[in-house]
C-alpha cells in the first residue's frame, strides 16, 4: 500500500480525480453537490442539460445558482440566449434572482439568428457569469467543443439546454458535465451522463429541497 501511495506521487502519473480540483459553485441542492465532481457546478466550463420536455424542472435546478451569482457584489450578466418562451420576471424575483443582471437575447428566427453565435459572443466577452442557451436543433460535436473552449476564454459558466433524445444522448460530448433531467413528482430524476472527474449515476432529486437550504 505504501509502495502504491509512493508510486502515485510520481509526477508522470495523473489520476482522474485530480482533475476535480476545479473551482465550483454550490448548486443549492446538497444532494446534487455531493454527486457532482468538485462538489458543485464548475465555475468555468460548459454543462449540457438534456431535458425530456421543456419545463421538466431544468430551470428550477439552476435557479439557486442564478439567485446567488446575480446577487454577488461584482456580478456580471446572467445571459439567457434563445429561451423557448418568455422568462417570467415575477417568478424569477420570487426565486431570488436579481433582475438587474438578467439579459435576454431573443431574435426572430432568420438566417442571421444563430444562438450558437450569440452564445459564443457572450462567453468570450467575459461580461457574463452564467450563460443559459436553449438549442433544440441537432448540434455537431465540433460546435459544443467550440463553446466549451469559449467558456475558458471568458471564464464563464455555460449551460446548454437541449431536448433529450436517444440520438443526442449517444453523441460524444465535450462538455465538462452532461445531465439528463426527467420530471418525476415534485422533483426530477437526474442522470449524470458524463462528468469529467466524477461519477455517473441516476437518482431522484427533490426540487423543493432547495428552498429550505438556501433560504430562497
Amino acid at each position: 500500500m505504501n509502495v502504491l501511495a509512493r508510486l502515485l506521487e510520481h509526477p508522470g502519473i495523473w489520476r482522474g480525480r485530480s482533475l476535480t480540483r476545479i473551482d465550483t459553485l454550490a448548486s443549492g441542492f446538497p444532494e446534487l453537490d455531493a454527486r457532482l465532481a468538485g462538489g458543485g457546478w464548475p465555475k468555468v466550463g460548459l454543462v449540457e442539460i438534456l431535458a425530456t420536455h421543456l419545463g421538466s424542472g431544468e430551470l428550477r435546478l439552476l435557479l439557486p445558482l442564478l439567485a446567488r451569482t446575480t446577487h454577488q457584489s461584482q456580478a456580471r450578466w446572467c445571459a439567457w440566449i434563445a429561451p423557448p418562451l418568455t422568462p417570467y420576471a415575477p417568478a424569477l424575483v420570487a426565486h431570488g434572482v436579481n433582475l438587474a443582471r438578467v439579459l435576454v437575447v431573443q431574435a426572430a428566427t432568420g438566417p442571421q439568428w444563430a444562438p450558437e453565435w450569440a452564445t459564443e459572443q457572450a462567453l468570450i466577452s467575459g461580461a457574463c457569469d452564467v450563460v443559459l442557451t436553449w438549442i433544440t436543433r441537432p448540434l455537431r460535436p465540433r460546435i459544443v467543443r467550440r463553446l466549451q473552449l469559449a467558456t475558458q476564454r471568458g471564464r464563464t459558466l455555460a449551460f446548454l439546454l437541449r431536448p433529450w433524445s436517444a440520438r443526442v444522448a449517444q453523441e460524444p460530448s465535450h462538455a465538462l458535465l452532461r445531465l439528463g433531467i426527467e420530471p418525476r413528482g415534485t422533483g426530477v430524476l437526474v442522470s449524470i451522463l458524463k462528468s469529467r472527474g466524477g461519477a455517473t449515476g441516476q437518482w431522484w432529486l427533490d426540487l423543493d429541497a432547495a428552498r429550505a437550504d438556501t433560504g430562497v
Binding site: S56, Q74, W77, A91, A100, G154, P183
Partner: protein, 479 residues
C-alpha cells in the same frame, strides 16, 4: 479684435480722456456730479463695437439655434442670450457688407427666409441691443455718444433685473434707465448691489461686457472617391479604414465620442446606399468602428458597384474615459461593475447583428393580469436598476407560485368530460387561485388558476375562465 481699426475721432470717448467719458454717463442738466473717482474696474475699452441684437417675441430655443447659425455668416462673434435673445458683433463686418444699413437688411432677409420675424436692434453695447429689443423699440444707435440719451427712455424691466430690485426702484419712482443712471453710484451699489450697477455700466459702455461665444456644433465629414469602382465588401471596408482612423483622431482630439455614424455609398446614376451604425454609448476607437461596419456592411445588399463613399458623424457627445479593470474578468474582483466596459460591448455586438429589440432585460410591473406583470426593458435604461431594486423589495411580499415560463398567448386546451387535456388529461395539484383585474379595465381578466401536471409530469399553470364558456387555457410552465 486686432484687425479692427482704431480710429480716433474727437467725438469718440478714449481711454486717455477719462473725465470726458464719465461725463457721457451723466445727463447734462440738473444731475449730481459723479461721486469722486469711479472705483469700478477699467474704463471701457476704447475699441469701437457695434452689436446687432436679435430678440424673438416668442422664446424658441430651436429657432434661436438656427438664427445663431445664420449669424455665423455675418460675424464669428455671436453669443446666445437664452431663451429669446442673440447678439452679434458686426463692427468688423461692416466694410464687407457695405455699411450698417446693408448688413441690417441682409440679416433681416436671412431671418425672414428662416421663417422668423425678430426685433432687430443696433447698439454699441450688447446689453443695449438686447434691452431695446426686449422693450420692442426699433433702436439703431451707431455711435457711443448718442448711447446714453438713446437708452435713457428704456424701461428698467428690459434689463431683466431681479423683481425685488425692480420693485424697490419703483418705490423710489425709478422706472427708466435714465432715472437709474442719475442716481448716485455709491448709494446705488449699496442698495441694489454691485452687479446691478455693473450691468448699468455695461449698458452704456462704461465697462466691458464679456460674453461666451456661441460655438457651432462640430461634425465630422470625410469623403473618398475611388479611381475604379469597388464591388466587394472587403474592398469597401478597406477603403473605409483610413476614414474611420481619421474620425477616431478627430474624436480623440476633442475628447468626444459618437453614437451614430452614417456611411453613404454612392453608386452610378445618383443612387446611394446608407449604412448607419448606432451605438449604445459614445465611442471613439477606430477598431470598434471598423468591427461594427464590417458587421453592418456584410448584411447590406448593394444595388451596384460603389464609386465613392462619404462618412458623416452624428452629434459629438462628451465621452468619459473607459475605466479599465485592473483584473481580467473572472479573476478575483475582475469584471468590474456590470454596466461598464465589456458588458456594454457585448450588448452592442449582439444588437449590431440581431437588432435593437433582440437584447433586453426584464422587469416586474405591478399588474393584476399575469401577462402585464413582466416587461422587457432596455438593459441600458436608467430606470432599469431602479425597477430592479423595487422588485427586490417586492420579493418579500411575493408568496404565490408563479410559472417560470409564460406563454405569450394563453393556449386553448381541449376538454374531455370536463377535464382539460394536454397530450392526455391534466392532473390539478393546487388551486384555484383567483386572479381578477379591476372591473373598469377594458380588457378584463377573471380567471381561476391551477397548478397542474401533465401526463409527462411537467408542471404547468392553467386557468379556467370564470365567465362562460368556462374554457381552459394553458398559460405557463412552472419547471
Amino acid at each position: 479684435m486686432a484687425s479692427r481699426p482704431l480710429r480716433k475721432s474727437p467725438l469718440e470717448p478714449q481711454s486717455a480722456e477719462a473725465p470726458q467719458q464719465l461725463s457721457l454717463a451723466v445727463p447734462p442738466a440738473g444731475s449730481p456730479p459723479p461721486q469722486g473717482p469711479v472705483a469700478h474696474g477699467e474704463p471701457a475699452a476704447a475699441l469701437r463695437e457695434l452689436w446687432l441684437g436679435v430678440h424673438l417675441p416668442q422664446p424658441d430655443p430651436a429657432l434661436l439655434q438656427r438664427l445663431a447659425l445664420l449669424a455665423q455668416r455675418f460675424t464669428p462673434r455671436v453669443s446666445l442670450e437664452p431663451p429669446d435673445g442673440l447678439v452679434l458683433e458686426v463692427q468688423g463686418s461692416l466694410a464687407l457688407f457695405g455699411g450698417a444699413v446693408q448688413l441690417y437688411r441682409a440679416f433681416r432677409a436671412g431671418c425672414n427666409a428662416a421663417g422668423a420675424a425678430p426685433v432687430l436692434t443696433l447698439a454699441p453695447t450688447p446689453l443695449a441691443a438686447l434691452a431695446s429689443g426686449r422693450a420692442g423699440m426699433s433702436f439703431k444707435v451707431l455711435d457711443q455718444q448718442h448711447l446714453v440719451s438713446a437708452v435713457s427712455p428704456l424701461p428698467l424691466a428690459a434689463l431683466r433685473w431681479p423683481p425685488q430690485v425692480l420693485q424697490r426702484l419703483s418705490k423710489l419712482g425709478v422706472y427708466r434707465v435714465g432715472q437709474a443712471l442719475r442716481l448716485p453710484r455709491a448709494g446705488f451699489a449699496r442698495r441694489f448691489g454691485t452687479e446691478t450697477l455693473g450691468m448699468l455700466d455695461q449698458l452704456i459702455a462704461r465697462s466691458a461686457d464679456l460674453r461666451a461665444p456661441f460655438r457651432v456644433p462640430e461634425k465630422f465629414r470625410a469623403k473618398r472617391q475611388f479611381v475604379r469602382e469597388r464591388e466587394h465588401h472587403a474592398e469597401i471596408l478597406q477603403a473605409l479604414q483610413p476614414l474611420l482612423a481619421q474620425l477616431a483622431q478627430f474624436l480623440e482630439a476633442r475628447q468626444c465620442g459618437i453614437t451614430r455614424i452614417t456611411c453613404r455609398l454612392r453608386h452610378r446614376n445618383g443612387l446611394h446606399t446608407d449604412c448607419v451604425v448606432r451605438l449604445a454609448q459614445p465611442e471613439a476607437a477606430a477598431a470598434r468602428f471598423m468591427e461594427w461596419f464590417a458587421e453592418r456592411l456584410g448584411r447590406i445588399a448593394l444595388p451596384g458597384p460603389v464609386r465613392s463613399l462619404e462618412l458623416r458623424s452624428g452629434e459629438l457627445l462628451s465621452r468619459a474615459p473607459v475605466p479599465e479593470s485592473l483584473w481580467q474578468p473572472g479573476e478575483h474582483g475582475g469584471g468590474g461593475d456590470g454596466l461598464l466596459g465589456g458588458s456594454l460591448e457585448l450588448i452592442e455586438r449582439l444588437r449590431m447583428r440581431l437588432g435593437e429589440l433582440a437584447v433586453h432585460g426584464l422587469s416586474c410591473v405591478d399588474s393584476h393580469s399575469p401577462e402585464g406583470a413582466s416587461r422587457p426593458v432596455s438593459p441600458l435604461a436608467a430606470d432599469f436598476r431602479r425597477t430592479a431594486a423595487a422588485a427586490r423589495k417586492e420579493r418579500s411580499r411575493e408568496h404565490k407560485v408563479r410559472p417560470l415560463w409564460l406563454l405569450d398567448e394563453p393556449q386553448l386546451l381541449r376538454e374531455r368530460e370536463g377535464w382539460p387535456q394536454l397530450a392526455g388529461p391534466l392532473c390539478l395539484r393546487h388551486g384555484p387561485e383567483r386572479i381578477e383585474s379591476h372591473w373598469w379595465e377594458a380588457q378584463g381578466v377573471a380567471r381561476d388558476y391551477y397548478q397542474a401536471t401533465d401526463v409527462n409530469g411537467v408542471a404547468v399553470w392553467v386557468f379556467r375562465e370564470r365567465q362562460p364558456p368556462h374554457r381552459w387555457f394553458l398559460h405557463g410552465l412552472t419547471g
